[in-house]
Symmetry: C2
Subunit: 193 residues, 2 copies
C-alpha cells in the first residue's frame, strides 16, 4: 500500500538499483514502513510496468546486469499526489489489546510474562528510534546526508524537522505502549496481592 511511496521517497534522491534500495531500506524508511527483501524487487517491477519508474540496464562483467531505476515524471506526480492527498487509515487490529481484554483466561504467570514481553518489545523499538532521532539531529544518517545534498539550503531545516516528526510519532507510540503495560503489571499485582 505505502511500499511504493517509501521506494519513491528513496529514489527521488537519485537513481538506485533494487539492491541499493534493499540495502538502505531497513536502516532508513524501513523503520517507518517495513518490507522484506522479497517484496522490493517485485514492487519495483510493478512500478516500472505502471510507468512510475524506469530502469537503465547496466552491464556488469560478461553476463551480469544491474537495473538502475529512476523516477519518471508520472512517478513524481504520483508521489506528490500521495503527499498532498488524504491518507487512508487501516482499520484497528491490535493483537496486544485483544489479548489484554481477555487476559483472565491466561494463567497469572503467563499474564505477567505477556506484559513484560510487551515492555521488552517496545523498549527495543524505542531504543532504535531514539538512536535514529539522535542521528537525525546530528544530520548523520547516510540517506539524510544524500537527501540534504540534493536539497536547497533554505529547505534543509524543514527536511530535518519533518524527518524528526515522523520518528517522534513512533517514539510516542512506544512510550505509550510501555506505560500501558506497566499499568497492566500493577493491575496484576492488585489481583494477586
Amino acid at each position: 500500500m505505502s511500499l511504493r511511496y517509501a521506494l519513491l521517497a528513496l529514489l527521488r534522491v537519485g537513481p538506485q538499483s533494487g539492491y541499493d534500495l534493499q540495502k538502505k531500506f531497513d536502516t532508513s524508511v524501513g523503520h517507518l514502513w517495513h518490507a522484506p527483501d522479497s517484496q522490493i524487487y517485485p514492487e519495483l517491477r510493478k512500478m516500472e510496468a505502471e510507468g512510475l519508474i524506469e530502469a537503465e540496464e547496466q552491464v556488469r562483467g560478461e553476463r551480469g546486469t544491474r537495473r538502475m531505476y529512476h523516477v519518471t515524471p508520472t512517478g513524481d506526480a504520483e508521489y506528490l499526489a500521495w503527499m498532498n492527498g488524504p491518507l487512508s487509515y487501516a482499520r484497528v487490529r491490535e493483537p496486544a489489546s485483544l489479548k489484554a481484554a481477555y487476559l483472565e483466561a491466561a494463567t497469572p504467570e503467563a499474564a505477567r510474562a505477556f506484559l513484560e514481553q510487551h515492555i521488552a518489545h517496545w523498549r527495543g523499538e524505542l531504543e532504535q528510534w531514539e538512536a535514529e532521532l539522535e542521528r537525525i539531529d546530528a544530520r548523520a544518517t547516510p540517506m539524510l546526508v544524500d537527501r540534504l545534498a540534493v536539497t536547497p539550503e533554505a529547505d534543509r531545516d524543514r527536511v530535518v524537522a519533518f524527518k524528526r516528526l515522523g520518528y517522534e510519532n513512533l517514539v510516542g507510540r512506544a512510550r505509550a505502549e510501555i506505560a500501558w503495560a506497566e499499568r497492566g503489571l500493577e493491575l496484576l499485582d492488585r489481583f494477586s496481592g
Copy 2:
C-alpha cells in the same frame, strides 16, 4: 492471524451462528481486531475444518438452515495456548509516520490538512473507545453481560478489569497520536510564521 482468537473469545461465552457473530463483532471484539463480514464465514469454516469448533445445523422453516457453532476441547486448548503463549508482533508499518517524515514534499496547506485529519481520525476512534470504557465500567455492554453471566462471581472483577485494560491501550494510543499531530501543527506554524 488473530481473527480466530477473537471468534473463539466470543464463542466461549456460548454457541452462536455466523450471523450472530457477525452482528456482535463490530460492537465488541471488532473494536480491538477489525474484520469485515466477508472474512468471518470463511474463517469459521476453516476453524471447523481444523476441529476448533463444531456446528450443529438447525432447520429454519422449510428449506433454510442455521449453523450453530460451539468450541470443541481442541479449540479451547488452542485458545488457551494463544493466551498463555508469547504474542508475535507485526513489523512496524506506520503510513502517518512515513508521510510525516517526508512532509517537505507536500504543500503547506496539504501538510496542515494531513495533520488536522490525523487529529480528527484519532479523535473519532478515541470517542468510541471512551464510550466503550464507560459501558464496561457500567457492565452494560451486551457481550460483557453474557460473559459475566457465565463467569463465577469471584472472577467477575478480573474480567471487567482486563477488558478495561485492553481498551485503555487503544485510548492511550489515540491520545498519543493526537498529541503528536498537535505538535506537528505547531511545527508548521513555526515554519510558515
